[in-house]
Structures are given as structure tokens and as C-alpha cells.
């Protein structure tokens, strides 16, 4: 089975876009990531990741309407494509399989 590789940061970004639903664009993704993960995320990193994900076909984007703020510049909203959803599910499955394969003593040791 051919699998698409998804990097760790890509995965988080993809997930965040999915969480935000209709409101996902550069700024909200960056701020959401910062709040949820607690780590400082550069906008430039998020932006390039979003671009890459779109190129890979996991995300689709369209421009929103003109707004009064930000000097009349439009926003680019991102939505997760079917391929994206599939990739997320695959990643989740892989994770769960891996967790499931963990010996119970080890799990106990980790405090889980």
C-alpha cells in the first residue's frame, strides 16, 4: 500500500486546519497552534507548511471576500481535502496500532 509521508509538524498543521473548519487561514492556524501546543510557532513556518500541504493535495484553499481590516487584503482559507482526511486517518491508525503493540508493563511505567 502506497502511503503518503506526513511529517510531524505537517500532521499538526493539518489537524489544526481540520479543527478550525471554516475559519482556517494563516493567522488562526498559527495562533491555534501556539495555544494548543504551547510552543512558539513562526508564521513563516506555518505558511510554508500550508503551502506544502496544498501542493501535496491534502489541503485546498480559496480566497475569502475583501475585508476592511488588514488594508483590504483578502484571506486565504484552507479546507482539508478527502486525501487529507485519509492521510490523517492513516496516521491515526498507525499510531493506534503502535500504541496497541506496546507491552502493558511499559505502558504502566510511562504512567499511562
Amino acid at each position: 500500500m502506497k502511503r503518503t509521508f506526513l511529517g510531524e509538524f505537517e500532521e499538526i498543521v493539518l489537524l489544526t486546519v481540520a479543527i478550525l473548519g471554516e475559519e482556517a487561514y494563516g493567522v488562526t492556524v498559527t495562533q491555534e497552534l501556539e495555544q494548543k501546543t504551547g510552543r512558539s510557532v513562526g508564521f513563516s513556518t506555518v505558511h510554508t507548511t500550508l503551502q506544502r500541504l496544498e501542493e501535496k493535495g491534502f489541503l485546498a484553499s480559496q480566497m475569502g471576500g475583501a475585508t476592511a481590516e488588514r488594508g483590504g487584503r483578502r484571506k486565504r482559507f484552507f479546507t482539508v481535502t478527502a486525501a487529507g482526511r485519509k492521510a490523517l486517518v492513516e496516521v491515526k491508525q498507525v499510531r493506534e496500532e503502535l500504541w496497541g503493540a506496546l507491552p502493558p508493563q511499559t505502558l504502566q511505567l510511562m504512567g499511562g
Binding site: V27, Q31, H47, R70, R76
Partner: protein, 863 residues
């Protein structure tokens, strides 16, 4: 409060970030920026913004070609368009274009002349053969305390020494300058500049002879063409004798072809052999005194570096010879002829050579007028910015970029500047034809540089004048402009335009005060009768033979009131003698005049103690002297009264009694400090007969009468007589320079007035409706006028208040250079101030009156 992120970052983003996503990226970053400002503060937000933006730059990733063709800023069509609009605008606002053009073109000639002068500084002495091989030896003198003095000159003996000692030196020549020579042909006397030069001078430097030969023996002289003409007119000067009061007679052996004195550092009137100079001088001083200029012509292929090495060796030998104390000494260095002018560093004893720094400071002064005219341009353009703002708005909406609009306004200012250059060149030609400017040469070898320089200069001028208007106008936002909510451009609250008017008038007034003051002093020097009487004094130069019978006949002429004799008439530099109290004292220098009682009377000298020289017709010198107060002071004789009857020793040989003391007076140079003067009755030294004539004399007929008497007694020599007052007037009144300076002050004034007119018409135009409404409501013409003029009167009075103290300060400063001066002329200043303010007020009045006269029915028709 709205914060804006650093603009340069956005510009970078536009250039080098992915153009496909630029819109949302910019928007996102802006949103984040505001969020950061709110959470972490502006400074950190700026930092984060910049960092994030920089990471997004992908300089080489993608082709930046936009999908739309951009309008190419410098396409021929656009450029043609810029010019077309510029011309149309110039024609549409004729008055303002005229003011700008006239102001700039009036101001240009003086700046252009300064440029010509700078070019000529770079062309000094370029007419000598093999000038690349000629070097001058300059000296660095080190004092014991380590201080260095840089001299352009060198010891007298150096040239000969080098020529004899080193190979690779083709020629060496030594010259000594003496600018305080006096030569007399018996008919005419002139202060001249002399150069002592050896024979090699004429081989190294190119000063061809018109006739005769170069001087070799002592007591021969070569004259420049002009000097020969001045002394001898059409007569052949070769073989004639010119007399120097201290050095004796010099035989004229040659006349140089005319050369342009402005183009060489060897400016002189006469050249005499160096042999005559070293004759009397002290052997020891030959090396210690740096009063000669040594030039060396190197052999072909000789490098300056290797010559400098030899000079280094020479320096140490000379220092040994001088027995110099440790740390003290001379160091010689070669400087090529081309490097002499303009000199990079200021050198001492470097006559007629300007150093680069002072050249540019001078140039800066010449630019003042031009700066004023450029300010007019800026001022007027900004004032009229309202008229152009709509144009800017429409252009921007139609898609013009900021740079295109800037380019439009710069085109206009550069165009005006070049039109002004055309007119300025015409004015320059007029000046060249009609006014003789003594400090400038019009003969420039590299006209092509000069023309390029002019073009470049005016280009810069256009850019400078257009810079601020174009920046202000191009930053108008179309939305605001087209909505009509913008006020005329100005800088800050102080009212940029108003302060400009003040600055202009202040500078104009100060300059006019300066000229007025110079005129006041020159007038004083030219017409002075306070120091000594000039009016109605006629000097007749005597020949060696006895003059008694001539004098007896002269005294019978009824217009002649008094006959006196002197060795030298006042206004020339008299010879020095040494005076002391007793034989063993240290001598002090004093100026010496041989004179008689009548001469001192004639000159109207004030006797403050004792009496005049005794009345006598003796053939012998009398051991009695009249001295000035300074002599009494220098000899420590106490009060003026106490000095009477004291004995002093003249020149080690004669002891003489002081019979009278005269007040200090200026007898030759107004800048020179007061020095002791001694008058002694010494008939053998009398050279000039000084007559006092009755005031209302027909001068020509008196001269004719005297000439006929003279002819009887001296049939072979023409009488040489001159009126002291006209002589001094001609000497001190620099008519042509004053003409030029006066012209300049008028130009400054006109430029200031033009600025005033510009602002005046503009502001009155703006207030047409106000005036109409006031008149309709019932204001009288007088009231409205007062209202309108008040503003400008305030500005003018501020300028006057600033300028008057400055004018006084300049006057005092100028006087500090003169020992004898006429004080600060408050009267002249007041008169000039009145004229300037009067003209300005008249203009303000006229324009307000015209504005008031408009019929309110017309100006309010549309309301």
C-alpha cells in the same frame, strides 16, 4: 492607536516573496503584527514581523514577472509625456513660471562664475613645456616642540645646491617674491609686484619676450607688457631707467609678451635677477630663511620618488649645516607643478594658490543667492500644491505609481533649471562683455569640462529644487485629494513658507548691509581728508636738478597757496630707517620722510606737542625731526610734551632733536598697524613738490600754466604732476568690483522680492472670496488692505530685527581688520534698510490694493 509595521520589510516582501500568495501573506502578517503589538509590545512586534517576513523571502525561487505589463517608467512615450505636461504647466501658470525662471537665471551667473574660477584653479601654469617634469620643492619645518609648519617655499640656496650636487636634475631655478616694490620712472610712480629670478627661470617656464632680452646682471629689469605700457605708453622702454626708492636704478632690458596673470602663480609686474637679491643678504640666512621658491626640472625618465629620496638626503645635510637643535629641522619634498594649484593642504607662503578647502568654502558663499532662488521655487511649488493635487489624484487613480509622479515633478524642476541656465548663460555673456571682473579669467582651456560641469550643476539644482515638492505632492492619497479634504502642503506648524520669506529677506538684508558697509569703508579710504589733506593738493615729481627758480615762479601763480617738499607723497610705502634713544640702544624701525615745514602744513597733520619743522631754505639737512605719537611711545619718551627737545639717533649716524609731535595718522595702508614715522628736513632727498591750491581752481588750466613754467626750466623732461585726491580715489575705489558686488546685492534683493510677490499673489488669490464677503458686509478698502498686509509686514519686520544686529556684527568684524576705519555706518544701514523695506512694503501694498479693488459682485458671483 494604529501601528504600522516597518515599511522596508513590506517592500522586501513585494520584491522577493512568492508573488502568488503575496496578498494573503501581507494581510496575515499585518493581522499578526497587530496581535503582537497588543500582546508583546511594539518593539517585539516589529522584530517578530521582520523575522517572519525575512524567512518568507525566496529571492531565486520564482519568476517575478507579473501577468500584467507594467508601464515602463522610462519609456520614450512616458518621457515625452513628462516633458509635455511640464511645458503645459509652465505655460499655464505664466506668472509663477516667470518668477521661478527669472529668480533662478538671475542667481545663476555668480554660481557659474564661481565654477569657471574653480576650473581655472585647476589650469594654473599648464602652458610651460614639459610641465610634467617640473617640480616645486616644499619644506616641512619642524619646531623643537614637535609642531610642523608646511611651507610652499624653501631656502634661497637650495636650488643651486641641488643642481650642483645631484645628477638627473636638468634645471633648477630659484625665485623670491616681493610684492611691495615701488618703481618710479621719474614721471610716474607705481607700487609693483616683483619677482627675483635667476636666468634658468626663463628656460624652465614659458614667458616669452616681446622685445629685448632677459635680465642677467644686477640692476636690470624685465617688465610685463602691461607694466611697460603703464610706464612708457608707446615709447620703447628698452634702455630706460626705473628708480626704486631703496635699491636704486634698474635698467629695463626686456618686455614680456602679454600673458594671463590669472592663469599662473607667477603673477608679477616686473622680474629682476636673483643676483640683485642675494647681494646684500646674510650668508647664514640663505639656509635658515624659507623665503624662496625652488623649482626643479627633472631629466627625462627621472621619477619623483627617486628625487624625493635625494631630497631626504639633502634635508639631513642641510640640517647638519644649520646646526639645528634636536627635534628641529627642515624636510624637503617635491611637488609636481600640476599639484600646486589647487593645493590639497594649505601651505604657508604660497601666493596666488588656493587650497581646496577655501575654494569650496568660497563656492558655498557664491551659492547663497542660488539657494535663495531655489527656495523660491520650492516655496511657490508647495504653495500651489493645491492646484496640482487633483492632477496627482487622478493620475494615481488611473494607475500612476509614486515614482512616476515624482519623475513628473522632477522633470518640471529640471526643465525650469535648464531654461534658467540658458538665460543665465546669456547674462554671463553680458557680464563678460560689459563688466570687467578682476578676480576672474574667462580664458579656460577645457571648455568641454566647463559645459559638462554647467549641465551637471543645473541638473543637480533642478533635482534639489524639485525634491521636496515632488515628494510632498506624490504622497497625496487619491481618496483624500479627490474628496477635497486636503490643505496646502507645508511643513509643520511654524509655517514653512513664512519662515522662508523671513530667511530670504534676512539674507538679502545682511548681504546688502555687507556691501553697504564695504562701500562705506571704501568711500572713506577713497575720499579721506581726515588722516591727511588730499583735496586740492597737487604733487609735481621733481628731477634731480635744482628747482629753486621753478619754485619761485610757481609761487607767483595766484592759485598756488603753499609750496612744500617731500621725499615721497603719502599713500606710498616709505623706506624704513632705524631710530633709537642713544647710540647703544636696540634700534627700532620707523618710516622716514624727508619733508619741510610747508609739506607738513599742506598735509594738515595735527601737531599735538611742540611745533613744526623750522622755516628754512637751507641746502643742508637739519638735525631736527618731527615724529608721530607712536615713535614717542616706542622710544619710551613719556608724554608727548616731554618728548620735545629730546635727542634721538637716526640710522646710527645722525642725532636729531625732536621739535614736534604729530598725532598718529594713516599715511599709506589702512590695514597696517600704526608705526613710528619720522620727518626730517633733508633737501637732498626731496623728490616731490607738493602744492596747496585754492579750492575752486580750474584744474586743467592750472596744470597747463604749471606745465609751461616747467617747460622753461626743464625743456627736455615732461612735467609729471598728479592731484593727490584723484590719485587716492583711483587707488582705493575698485569701481569694477564694486559694480559687480552692487549687482549681486541687487540680484539677491530681486530674488527675495520675487519670492515675496509669488507668495503674495498666491495667498491673495486664495482669499479673493474672503475679501469679497468682507466688502459686501461693509468693510472699507482701507480696513481690508490693513488686514491683508499685516501678515507680511510682520514677516518683514522679523527679518529686519534679525538682520540689523547681524549687519552691525559684520561691520564690526570687517573693521577689526582695519586699523583706520570709518566706524559702522548706521546711517548707510538705516538708509539701505529703508530702501529694502520701502520697496517690499510698496509691493505688498500694491498687490493688496489690487486685490481689494476687485468687484465683490464678480468674485462672489458663483456663491
Amino acid at each position: 492607536m494604529q501601528h504600522t509595521p516597518p515599511r522596508w520589510v513590506r517592500t522586501l516582501l513585494r520584491w522577493w516573496a512568492d508573488p502568488n500568495t503575496s496578498e494573503e501573506v501581507e494581510g496575515d502578517l499585518l493581522e499578526l503584527y497587530n496581535y503582537w503589538v497588543a500582546t508583546v509590545g511594539e518593539r517585539k512586534a516589529n522584530w517578530k514581523y521582520t523575522l517572519n517576513a525575512l524567512k518568507l523571502l525566496r529571492p531565486f525561487a520564482k519568476d517575478k514577472q507579473s501577468q500584467y505589463p507594467t508601464t515602463y517608467l522610462y519609456s520614450p512615450t512616458m518621457i515625452r509625456n513628462y516633458f509635455k505636461i511640464a511645458f503645459r504647466n509652465a505655460l499655464k501658470y505664466k506668472l509663477f513660471s516667470f518668477i521661478n525662471l527669472l529668480g533662478l537665471s538671475l542667481a545663476l551667473p555668480s554660481a557659474l562664475m564661481a565654477l569657471i574660477q574653480i576650473v581655472s584653479y585647476y589650469e594654473y601654469d599648464n602652458f610651460h613645456q614639459d610641465s610634467d617634469r617640473i617640480v616645486r620643492i616644499i619644506t616641512d619645518e619642524k619646531q623643537e616642540d614637535g609642531e610642523m609648519t608646511h611651507w610652499a617655499s624653501s631656502p634661497v640656496a637650495l636650488g643651486k645646491y641641488i643642481k650642483e650636487k645631484w645628477v638627473g636634475v636638468e634645471q633648477s631655478t630659484t625665485l623670491v617674491r616681493d610684492s611691495k616694490w615701488v618703481l618710479s620712472s621719474g614721471i610716474k610712480t607705481k607700487n609693483v609686484r616683483a619677482i627675483y629670478a635667476d636666468a634658468a627661470f626663463f628656460q624652465v617656464f614659458h614667458f616669452p619676450l616681446e622685445k629685448g632680452s632677459y635680465p642677467v646682471e644686477a640692476h636690470t629689469v624685465v617688465l610685463t607688457h602691461e607694466t611697460a605700457e603703464w610706464f612708457f605708453k608707446e615709447v620703447n622702454p628698452i634702455g630706460r631707467i626705473l628708480e626704486h626708492p631703496t635699491y636704486g636704478g634698474f635698467k629695463v632690458v626686456g618686455v614680456l609678451k602679454p600673458f594671463n596673470q590669472q592663469k599662473t602663480q607667477f603673477r608679477t609686474d616686473v622680474l629682476v635677477p636673483l643676483a640683485g637679491y642675494s647681494n646684500g643678504s646674510d650668508k647664514a640666512k640663505e639656509w635658515s630663511e624659507l623665503n624662496a621658491h625652488t623649482f626643479v626640472k627633472l631629466s627625462k625618465g627621472r621619477s619623483i620618488a627617486s628625487f624625493n629620496k635625494q631630497l631626504g638626503a639633502t634635508s639631513s645635510e642641510v640640517n647638519k649645516l644649520l646646526n639645528a637643535a634636536a627635534g628641529k629641522g627642515l624636510a624637503f619634498q617635491a611637488q609636481t607643478l600640476g599639484d600646486i594649484s589647487p593645493s590639497e593642504n594649505e601651505l604657508k607662503n604660497d601666493p596666488y594658490v588656493q587650497d581646496v578647502r577655501s575654494i569650496y568654502i568660497n563656492f558655498g558663499f557664491q551659492l547663497i543667492i542660488l539657494v535663495l532662488a531655489a527656495l523660491n521655487y520650492i516655496n511657490l511649488t508647495l504653495a500651489r500644491s493645491m492646484n496640482r493635487s487633483r492632477e496627482v489624484g487622478v493620475r494615481k487613480v488611473a494607475g500612476a505609481t509614486k515614482s512616476q509622479i515624482i519623475f513628473q515633478f522632477l522633470t518640471e524642476s529640471v526643465l525650469i533649471s535648464y531654461l534658467a541656465l540658458g538665460m543665465g548663460l546669456f547674462l554671463l555673456w553680458m557680464i563678460k562683455t560689459f563688466i570687467h571682473v578682476s578676480w576672474l579669467t574667462w580664458e579656460i582651456d577645457h571648455w568641454e569640462y566647463l559645459i559638462l560641469l554647467f549641465l551637471a550643476f543645473n541638473f543637480v539644482l533642478g533635482i534639489v529644487a524639485g525634491a521636496s515638492p515632488s515628494l510632498v505632492l506624490s504622497s497625496y492619497q487619491p481618496v483624500k485629494v479627490l474628496k477635497g479634504t486636503i490643505s496646502p502642503a507645508s511643513f509643520g506648524k511654524i509655517g514653512f513658507r513664512k519662515s522662508l520669506i523671513i530667511v530670504q529677506f534676512t539674507i538679502a538684508l545682511v548681504y546688502i548691509f555687507f556691501i553697504g558697509h564695504a562701500y562705506h569703508q571704501i568711500e572713506y579710504m577713497a575720499n579721506d581728508n581726515v588722516n591727511y589733506q588730499r583735496e586740492n593738493r597737487l604733487n609735481i615729481h621733481l628731477t634731480g636738478t635744482s628747482n629753486e627758480r621753478f619754485a619761485a615762479e610757481v609761487s607767483t601763480v595766484k592759485e598756488v597757496e603753499k609750496i612744500g617738499y617731500t621725499s615721497l607723497s603719502f599713500g606710498n610705502t616709505p623706506p624704513y630707517i632705524e631710530i633709537k634713544n642713544t647710540k647703544n640702544d636696540a634700534p627700532k624701525p620707523a618710516f622716514f620722510y624727508a619733508a619741510d615745514r610747508q609739506f607738513i602744513d599742506n598735509m594738515g597733520l595735527k601737531i599735538v606737542a611742540g611745533k613744526n619743522l623750522p622755516e628754512t631754505k637751507s641746502e643742508m639737512a637739519l638735525p631736527m625731526v618731527v615724529v608721530n605719537q607712536k615713535a614717542v611711545e616706542h622710544l619710551h619718551l613719556g608724554a608727548d610734551q616731554e618728548a620735545i627737545g629730546k635727542l634721538i639717533v637716526l640710522n646710527d649716524t645722525v642725532s636729531a632733536t625732536i621739535v614736534g609731535v604729530v598725532a598718529n595718522f594713516c599715511h599709506y595702508d589702512y590695514e597696517h598697524k600704526i608705526e613710528p614715522v619720522v620727518f626730517q628736513y633733508q633737501p637732498a632727498a626731496f623728490r616731490v613738490m607738493c602744492l596747496t591750491t585754492s579750492p575752486a581752481t580750474d584744474r586743467a588750466s592750472l596744470e597747463a600754466t604749471l606745465a609751461s613754467l616747467w617747460k622753461k626750466h626743464h625743456p627736455y623732461v615732461e612735467m609729471n604732476a598728479s592731484w593727490l585726491d584723484t590719485d587716492m580715489y583711483e587707488r582705493y575705489y575698485p569701481y569694477e568690483d564694486m559694480q559687480f558686488a552692487g549687482m549681486q546685492s541687487i540680484v539677491i534683493f530681486v530674488v527675495a522680492i520675487l519670492g515675496l510677490i509669488g507668495i503674495l499673489t498666491y495667498s491673495l488669490e486664495k482669499r479673493t472670496k474672503e475679501i469679497g464677503i468682507r466688502k459686501v458686509i461693509g468693510a472699507t478698502a482701507e480696513e481690508v488692505m490693513r488686514l491683508l498686509a499685516a501678515d507680511f509686514i510682520k514677516l518683514l519686520s522679523i527679518a529686519a530685527v534679525v538682520a540689523v544686529p547681524l549687519g552691525v556684527a559684520i561691520g564690526l568684524y570687517m573693521n577689526s581688520y582695519l586699523v583706520f576705519h570709518n566706524g559702522v555706518s548706521y546711517f548707510t544701514m538705516a538708509a539701505l534698510l529703508l530702501v529694502v523695506l520701502g520697496v517690499s512694503l510698496a509691493i505688498v501694498g500694491y498687490f493688496s490694493w489690487r486685490a481689494v479693488q476687485t468687484n465683490p459682485a464678480k468674485s462672489l458671483k458663483s456663491e
